[in-house]
């Protein structure tokens, strides 16, 4: 299953998580992390109350990476306050243009 190109096992909870994630911007680009395609996967384990998030950055050397990842973690934690949040940063596959949503592409001038 996928929601906005994000692979997930729970579309309902994923949609709820997206409300908070749309508020997290990449400060350099000025675009939210969802439309920018930085969220790869959200896996929910409702029994263990465990949320595993696979995210990426536009570049591995992004100096704002620490800020972006901590804000994504915080947004997910706000959405699921009593859950354990595991945010894993991956560069496989590396982020590219194809990950950006149509709205994001329009924002970037395409």
């Amino acid at each position: 299953m996928s929601v906005n190109n994000i692979i997930t096992n729970d579309t309902e909870r994923c949609n709820f998580a997206l409300i908070g994630l749309y508020e997290v911007d990449d400060p350099e680009v000025g675009l939210n992390v969802v439309d920018l395609g930085l969220i790869y996967q959200l896996d929910f384990d409702s029994e263990e109350k465990n949320l595993d998030a696979q995210i990426t950055l536009t570049t591995q050397f992004c100096p704002m990476g620490e800020s972006i990842t901590s804000n994504i973690t915080q947004a997910l934690s706000n959405a699921f306050p009593d859950w354990k949040i595991n945010v894993n940063l991956t560069f496989d596959p590396p982020w590219d243009f194809s990950k950006i949503s149509p709205e994001g592409r329009e924002f970037l001038g395409h």
């Binding site: 400060p27 570049t59 100096p63 620490e66 915080q74 595991n86 894993n88 560069f91 001038g109």
Partner: protein, 427 residues
């Protein structure tokens, strides 16, 4: 509950390490432009005079080097793919440089070739040694060193060569420690700094930052290595030719090496720009890209000096050459990159853990775009007027140029202060 993040997350340098360098550089830029306006008659005399030396060192050390120190402490993790090894060494670098630079400038201004210049030069060398240790320990602690890391390592070694040679030149004023008088070695000292330190550093940092800010996936390490070899060959060959006092024609070899390197770098930036994902390029990036083209201007001036002009006209053109580099290329890239990097550092400080809680101002909203545009316009007017004034030996035009540059410096200080003093806005 949070878990630690997995993956190669870049560690950010503490803002307290970086911001003092930016603040100091802004004040130095202002001071250098005040001195330039007060002493515009330097364009009519030989370049080896107290005021030209004071202004040159205020620009090269107080402005260019201090801002590169600041930016490189921030960007070192990005360049070496590790973390800054020591904040303490960074503070020591700042402290010694911050005291040494004004002493050196004052020493030149009053032309005290004794203990004042010696004290200033010694303190600056201590600062550079601390910086060198920090760059080396940060770079060599990293598991692998990419091409950008080698640029910063080599540039830092050239910086130390520049300041150490400068120290020898200062002592050579009063004690004969070199075979000839200090004036004979000025061009070697200047090019160690301009080519070895500034050019290598700007290309090493720019080749990583420009694609990053344009969100471009373009990279070509092979070309960057060729540029690295060309610049180092150019500088080493120049030092050898100059030391052996060979015919002027030999210098063309060094100039052509540097010219090819700059053209290759400009082409590298052009390719990164062409395949950029972010189509709407902001003004700061445009300024930085234009400054890449400005690199070619001093080389053209240098070729004029060597090939066209008779010896008695060379003083003026040497001044023009130095002006095009310090007030042209280096200043333009700093004007652009300051408002690309400084707002991020302050934004990170203020909004680091608040961005999830609602819309925060974008980093570019921390300074005034209007003041930035005005500053650029006035800077360009000043830069061009000053060059025209030197060429036509017209003091009025030189004065107008210097006044415009001072206004641009004031606007720069106002706008950077706006960023420094930014308070968190209610979310």
């Amino acid at each position: 509950m949070f878990s630690p993040l997995i993956g190669g997350l870049q560690k950010t340098t503490d803002y307290r390490v970086v911001l003092p360098f930016y603040f100091y550089a802004a004040i130095s830029f202002l001071v250098a432009n005040i001195l330039l306006l007060l002493h515009t008659n330097i364009t009519d005399v030989n370049y080896f005079n107290p005021y030209t030396l004071a202004i040159t060192h205020a620009m090269a050390l107080g402005w260019g080097t201090m801002i590169i120190f600041g930016a490189s402490h921030q960007l070192l993790p990005v360049l070496v793919e590790g973390k800054l090894d020591s904040n303490t060494l960074a503070y020591l670098t700042f402290s010694f440089a911050a005291i040494g630079i004004p002493i050196l400038i004052y020493g030149f201004y009053v032309f005290n070739t004794g203990y004042i210049l010696q004290a200033g030069a010694t303190l600056i060398n201590v600062a550079v040694i601390f910086y060198l240790i920090n760059v080396f320990s940060s770079s060599f602690k990293s598991k692998k060193r990419n091409v950008h890391a080698w640029y910063i390592v080599a540039a830092t070694l050239w910086l130390f060569s520049t300041t150490f040679f400068g120290l020898l030149l200062v002592f050579n004023f009063t004690q004969n420690i070199l075979p000839q008088n200090s004036v004979s070695y000025l061009s070697i000292h200047a090019h160690l700094g301009l080519i070895g330190w500034f050019l290598l550093m700007v290309i090493g940092v720019g080749s990583r930052l420009i694609p990053m800010f344009l969100i471009s996936k373009y990279t070509n390490d092979k070309v960057l290595w060729i540029i690295f070899i060309l610049i180092n060959t150019s500088l080493i060959s120049f030092i050898i030719f100059k030391t052996l006092q060979l015919n002027t024609y030999f210098y063309y070899f060094s100039i052509v090496m540097s010219l090819i390197a700059i053209i290759l770098f400009a082409n590298h930036c052009k390719k990164a720009h062409k395949i950029r994902i972010r189509k709407n390029v902001d003004e700061q990036m445009k300024t930085s890209l234009i400054s890449v083209l400005q690199m070619i201007l001093p080389i053209v001036v240098l070729i004029i000096i060597l090939s066209i002009l008779p010896n008695h006209h060379q003083d003026k053109i040497v001044l023009l050459y130095g002006f095009c580099i310090l007030f042209g290329w280096i200043t333009a890239i700093i004007l652009g990159m300051t408002f690309k990097t400084l707002p991020f550092i302050v934004w990170n400080k203020v909004y680091h853990k608040k961005a999830h809680a609602g819309k925060t101002p974008a980093p570019k909203e921390l300074f005034s775009e209007k003041i930035y545009h005005l500053m650029l316009l006035i800077y360009l007017i000043g830069f061009i007027a000053f060059i025209v004034g030197i060429i036509f030996t017209n003091q009025l035009i030189v004065k107008i140029g210097a006044a415009a540059l001072l206004i641009a410096a004031i606007l720069y200080v106002i706008n950077t202060s706006k960023v420094f003093l930014h308070k968190p806005q209610k979310i």
